[in-house]
Protein backbone atom coordinates (compact mmCIF):
# COMPACT_ATOMS: atom_id res chain seq x y z
CA UNK A 1 0.00 0.00 0.00
CA UNK A 2 1.18 3.51 -0.81
CA UNK A 3 0.05 6.30 1.46
CA UNK A 4 0.36 10.06 1.12
CA UNK A 5 -0.92 12.74 3.47
CA UNK A 6 -1.79 16.29 2.47
CA UNK A 7 -2.64 18.99 4.99
CA UNK A 8 -4.31 22.31 4.21
CA UNK A 9 -5.74 25.17 6.21
CA UNK A 10 -9.48 25.82 6.16
CA UNK A 11 -9.45 28.48 3.47
CA UNK A 12 -10.79 28.17 -0.06
CA UNK A 13 -7.58 29.57 -1.60
CA UNK A 14 -5.79 26.36 -0.56
CA UNK A 15 -8.16 24.12 -2.55
CA UNK A 16 -6.37 24.59 -5.87
CA UNK A 17 -2.83 24.00 -4.51
CA UNK A 18 -4.19 20.82 -2.88
CA UNK A 19 -5.68 19.68 -6.18
CA UNK A 20 -2.41 20.41 -8.00
CA UNK A 21 -0.43 18.26 -5.55
CA UNK A 22 -3.06 15.55 -5.58
CA UNK A 23 -3.11 15.55 -9.37
CA UNK A 24 0.64 14.87 -9.50
CA UNK A 25 0.35 12.08 -6.95
CA UNK A 26 -2.65 10.46 -8.67
CA UNK A 27 -0.77 10.20 -11.98
CA UNK A 28 1.28 7.42 -10.42
CA UNK A 29 -1.79 5.41 -9.40
CA UNK A 30 -2.73 4.16 -12.88
CA UNK A 31 -6.37 4.97 -12.44
CA UNK A 32 -7.93 6.31 -15.67
CA UNK A 33 -7.80 10.04 -16.34
CA UNK A 34 -11.60 10.11 -15.97
CA UNK A 35 -11.36 8.50 -12.52
CA UNK A 36 -8.53 10.84 -11.50
CA UNK A 37 -10.59 13.88 -12.53
CA UNK A 38 -13.50 12.54 -10.46
CA UNK A 39 -11.22 12.06 -7.43
CA UNK A 40 -10.18 15.71 -7.60
CA UNK A 41 -13.82 16.82 -7.61
CA UNK A 42 -14.78 14.42 -4.80
CA UNK A 43 -11.89 15.44 -2.53
CA UNK A 44 -12.52 19.10 -3.38
CA UNK A 45 -16.18 18.77 -2.42
CA UNK A 46 -15.26 17.06 0.86
CA UNK A 47 -12.73 19.77 1.78
CA UNK A 48 -15.21 22.49 0.77
CA UNK A 49 -17.75 20.91 3.13
CA UNK A 50 -15.21 21.08 5.96
CA UNK A 51 -14.46 24.75 5.20
CA UNK A 52 -18.10 25.77 4.81
CA UNK A 53 -19.95 23.62 7.27
CA UNK A 54 -17.55 22.26 9.88
CA UNK A 55 -15.41 25.36 10.30
CA UNK A 56 -18.19 27.69 9.05
CA UNK A 57 -15.74 29.83 7.08
CA UNK A 58 -13.34 30.27 10.00
CA UNK A 59 -9.78 30.34 8.66
CA UNK A 60 -6.64 28.64 9.96
CA UNK A 61 -8.03 25.26 10.99
CA UNK A 62 -6.57 21.98 9.82
CA UNK A 63 -7.93 19.66 7.15
CA UNK A 64 -5.98 16.47 6.55
CA UNK A 65 -6.37 14.40 3.40
CA UNK A 66 -4.92 10.89 3.51
CA UNK A 67 -4.71 8.94 0.26
CA UNK A 68 -4.16 5.19 0.40
CA UNK A 69 -3.51 3.40 -2.85
CA UNK A 70 -4.02 -0.35 -2.71
CA UNK A 71 -3.91 -3.01 -5.36
CA UNK A 72 -7.67 -3.09 -5.81
CA UNK A 73 -8.83 0.34 -4.66
CA UNK A 74 -8.01 3.89 -3.64
CA UNK A 75 -9.17 5.37 -0.36
CA UNK A 76 -9.36 9.06 0.56
CA UNK A 77 -9.81 10.06 4.20
CA UNK A 78 -10.79 13.67 4.77
CA UNK A 79 -10.39 14.61 8.40
CA UNK A 80 -11.34 17.88 10.06
CA UNK A 81 -11.37 18.91 13.69
CA UNK A 82 -14.34 21.26 13.92
CA UNK A 83 -17.95 20.79 14.91
CA UNK A 84 -19.47 17.42 14.23
CA UNK A 85 -21.71 17.09 11.21
CA UNK A 86 -23.60 13.97 10.30
CA UNK A 87 -23.50 14.10 6.53
CA UNK A 88 -25.27 10.75 6.28
CA UNK A 89 -28.42 12.62 7.27
CA UNK A 90 -28.02 15.09 4.41
CA UNK A 91 -30.58 14.20 1.77
CA UNK A 92 -29.40 13.47 -1.74
CA UNK A 93 -31.13 15.99 -3.99
CA UNK A 94 -33.38 15.04 -6.86
CA UNK A 95 -31.81 15.81 -10.18
CA UNK A 96 -31.66 17.76 -12.37
CA UNK A 97 -31.27 20.30 -9.62
CA UNK A 98 -33.05 23.55 -10.32
CA UNK A 99 -31.80 25.26 -7.18
CA UNK A 100 -28.19 26.35 -6.84
CA UNK A 101 -27.41 24.36 -3.67
CA UNK A 102 -27.07 20.75 -2.66
CA UNK A 103 -25.13 19.42 -5.62
CA UNK A 104 -21.90 18.71 -3.74
CA UNK A 105 -23.13 15.69 -1.82
CA UNK A 106 -24.64 14.25 -4.98
CA UNK A 107 -21.35 14.58 -6.87
CA UNK A 108 -19.51 12.90 -4.00
CA UNK A 109 -21.92 9.98 -3.87
CA UNK A 110 -21.97 9.51 -7.62
CA UNK A 111 -18.26 9.77 -8.26
CA UNK A 112 -17.11 7.32 -5.59
CA UNK A 113 -18.10 3.72 -4.92
CA UNK A 114 -18.43 4.08 -1.17
CA UNK A 115 -18.83 6.87 1.37
CA UNK A 116 -18.36 6.19 5.03
CA UNK A 117 -18.34 8.50 8.02
CA UNK A 118 -16.00 7.59 10.84
CA UNK A 119 -17.98 8.83 13.81
CA UNK A 120 -15.62 7.51 16.47
CA UNK A 121 -13.54 10.67 16.79
CA UNK A 122 -14.21 12.73 19.89
CA UNK A 123 -13.74 15.90 17.86
CA UNK A 124 -14.38 16.65 14.21
CA UNK A 125 -15.32 14.51 11.27
CA UNK A 126 -13.73 11.94 9.01
CA UNK A 127 -15.19 11.15 5.63
CA UNK A 128 -13.82 8.03 3.95
CA UNK A 129 -14.21 7.78 0.17
CA UNK A 130 -13.41 4.58 -1.68
CA UNK A 131 -13.15 3.77 -5.36
CA UNK A 132 -12.45 0.25 -6.56
CA UNK A 133 -10.14 -0.36 -9.44
CA UNK A 134 -11.93 -1.72 -12.49
CA UNK A 135 -10.78 -5.20 -13.42
CA UNK A 136 -8.39 -5.17 -16.33
CA UNK A 137 -7.44 -1.52 -15.78
CA UNK A 138 -4.15 -1.07 -13.99
Amino acid sequence: MTQKIFVIKSESKYLKPLRDKLKLFLRKTRFSSKDRAAFLVAVGEACTNSIRHTYQGEKGHKIRVTVQVRKDKIVFKIRDYGRKINLSKVKTPRLPRKKPHGLGIYLLKTMMDKLKYNTTHARGNELILTKHRKRGVR
Partner: protein, 112 residues
Protein backbone atom coordinates in the same frame (compact mmCIF):
# COMPACT_ATOMS: atom_id res chain seq x y z
CA UNK B 1 -10.09 32.58 -12.30
CA UNK B 2 -10.14 35.22 -14.98
CA UNK B 3 -13.47 36.34 -16.37
CA UNK B 4 -13.62 38.26 -19.65
CA UNK B 5 -16.97 39.59 -20.77
CA UNK B 6 -17.36 40.85 -24.31
CA UNK B 7 -20.42 42.31 -26.01
CA UNK B 8 -21.12 40.72 -29.39
CA UNK B 9 -24.16 41.74 -31.37
CA UNK B 10 -27.00 43.51 -29.64
CA UNK B 11 -28.20 41.67 -26.57
CA UNK B 12 -25.53 38.95 -26.68
CA UNK B 13 -22.63 38.72 -24.25
CA UNK B 14 -19.71 36.33 -24.49
CA UNK B 15 -18.16 35.23 -21.20
CA UNK B 16 -14.71 33.65 -21.51
CA UNK B 17 -13.51 31.85 -18.38
CA UNK B 18 -9.91 31.04 -17.60
CA UNK B 19 -8.93 28.84 -14.65
CA UNK B 20 -10.52 26.49 -12.16
CA UNK B 21 -14.12 27.00 -11.10
CA UNK B 22 -14.24 25.99 -7.46
CA UNK B 23 -15.59 27.24 -4.14
CA UNK B 24 -12.83 29.90 -4.09
CA UNK B 25 -13.46 31.39 -7.53
CA UNK B 26 -17.17 30.78 -7.99
CA UNK B 27 -18.23 33.69 -5.78
CA UNK B 28 -16.57 36.19 -8.13
CA UNK B 29 -18.14 34.48 -11.13
CA UNK B 30 -21.55 34.43 -9.44
CA UNK B 31 -21.33 38.20 -8.87
CA UNK B 32 -20.53 38.82 -12.55
CA UNK B 33 -23.29 36.50 -13.75
CA UNK B 34 -25.87 38.14 -11.50
CA UNK B 35 -24.91 41.56 -12.93
CA UNK B 36 -25.67 40.26 -16.44
CA UNK B 37 -29.01 38.81 -15.34
CA UNK B 38 -29.89 42.06 -13.55
CA UNK B 39 -29.27 43.86 -16.86
CA UNK B 40 -31.58 41.27 -18.45
CA UNK B 41 -29.01 40.35 -21.07
CA UNK B 42 -31.07 38.24 -23.45
CA UNK B 43 -28.36 35.90 -24.80
CA UNK B 44 -25.26 34.65 -23.01
CA UNK B 45 -22.51 32.47 -24.48
CA UNK B 46 -20.01 30.95 -22.06
CA UNK B 47 -16.62 29.78 -23.33
CA UNK B 48 -15.24 26.92 -21.18
CA UNK B 49 -12.18 26.25 -23.36
CA UNK B 50 -9.76 27.29 -20.62
CA UNK B 51 -11.59 25.71 -17.68
CA UNK B 52 -10.07 22.43 -16.50
CA UNK B 53 -12.04 21.96 -13.30
CA UNK B 54 -15.52 22.66 -12.01
CA UNK B 55 -17.13 21.68 -8.72
CA UNK B 56 -20.63 22.04 -7.29
CA UNK B 57 -20.05 25.72 -6.42
CA UNK B 58 -19.27 26.43 -10.08
CA UNK B 59 -22.30 24.49 -11.23
CA UNK B 60 -24.44 26.38 -8.72
CA UNK B 61 -23.40 29.74 -10.20
CA UNK B 62 -24.78 28.62 -13.59
CA UNK B 63 -27.92 27.09 -12.09
CA UNK B 64 -28.61 30.46 -10.46
CA UNK B 65 -27.98 32.35 -13.70
CA UNK B 66 -30.23 29.93 -15.56
CA UNK B 67 -33.04 30.50 -13.05
CA UNK B 68 -32.68 34.27 -13.22
CA UNK B 69 -32.60 34.31 -17.03
CA UNK B 70 -35.67 32.10 -17.21
CA UNK B 71 -37.70 34.87 -15.57
CA UNK B 72 -37.20 37.11 -18.60
CA UNK B 73 -36.88 34.36 -21.26
CA UNK B 74 -33.14 34.79 -21.66
CA UNK B 75 -30.99 32.14 -23.33
CA UNK B 76 -27.63 30.70 -22.32
CA UNK B 77 -25.33 28.30 -24.17
CA UNK B 78 -22.09 26.85 -22.77
CA UNK B 79 -19.44 25.69 -25.22
CA UNK B 80 -15.98 24.07 -25.58
CA UNK B 81 -16.26 22.08 -22.35
CA UNK B 82 -13.38 19.68 -21.69
CA UNK B 83 -14.29 16.01 -21.20
CA UNK B 84 -13.72 16.30 -17.44
CA UNK B 85 -15.89 19.40 -17.05
CA UNK B 86 -18.61 17.92 -19.27
CA UNK B 87 -18.59 14.79 -17.09
CA UNK B 88 -19.40 16.87 -14.02
CA UNK B 89 -22.34 18.53 -15.83
CA UNK B 90 -23.56 15.11 -16.95
CA UNK B 91 -23.24 13.51 -13.49
CA UNK B 92 -25.29 16.39 -12.08
CA UNK B 93 -27.72 15.82 -14.97
CA UNK B 94 -27.40 19.48 -15.87
CA UNK B 95 -26.73 18.58 -19.50
CA UNK B 96 -30.48 18.01 -19.71
CA UNK B 97 -31.19 21.58 -18.59
CA UNK B 98 -28.34 23.59 -20.08
CA UNK B 99 -27.54 23.80 -23.75
CA UNK B 100 -23.98 22.57 -24.30
CA UNK B 101 -22.24 23.11 -27.64
CA UNK B 102 -18.99 21.84 -29.13
CA UNK B 103 -17.72 25.27 -30.16
CA UNK B 104 -18.64 28.94 -30.47
CA UNK B 105 -20.09 28.52 -33.96
CA UNK B 106 -22.48 25.80 -32.82
CA UNK B 107 -23.29 27.76 -29.66
CA UNK B 108 -24.20 30.84 -31.70
CA UNK B 109 -26.40 28.78 -33.99
CA UNK B 110 -28.32 27.46 -30.95
CA UNK B 111 -29.35 30.96 -29.95
CA UNK B 112 -32.59 31.80 -31.67
Amino acid sequence: MKIHIKSLQQGTELIALHGDLDFHSSQELRTELIKLADRQVSKILVDFKKVDYIDSSGLAAFVELFQRMKRYNGQMVLFSLSAGVRDVFEIAKLDSIFRLAQNEKEATSLLS
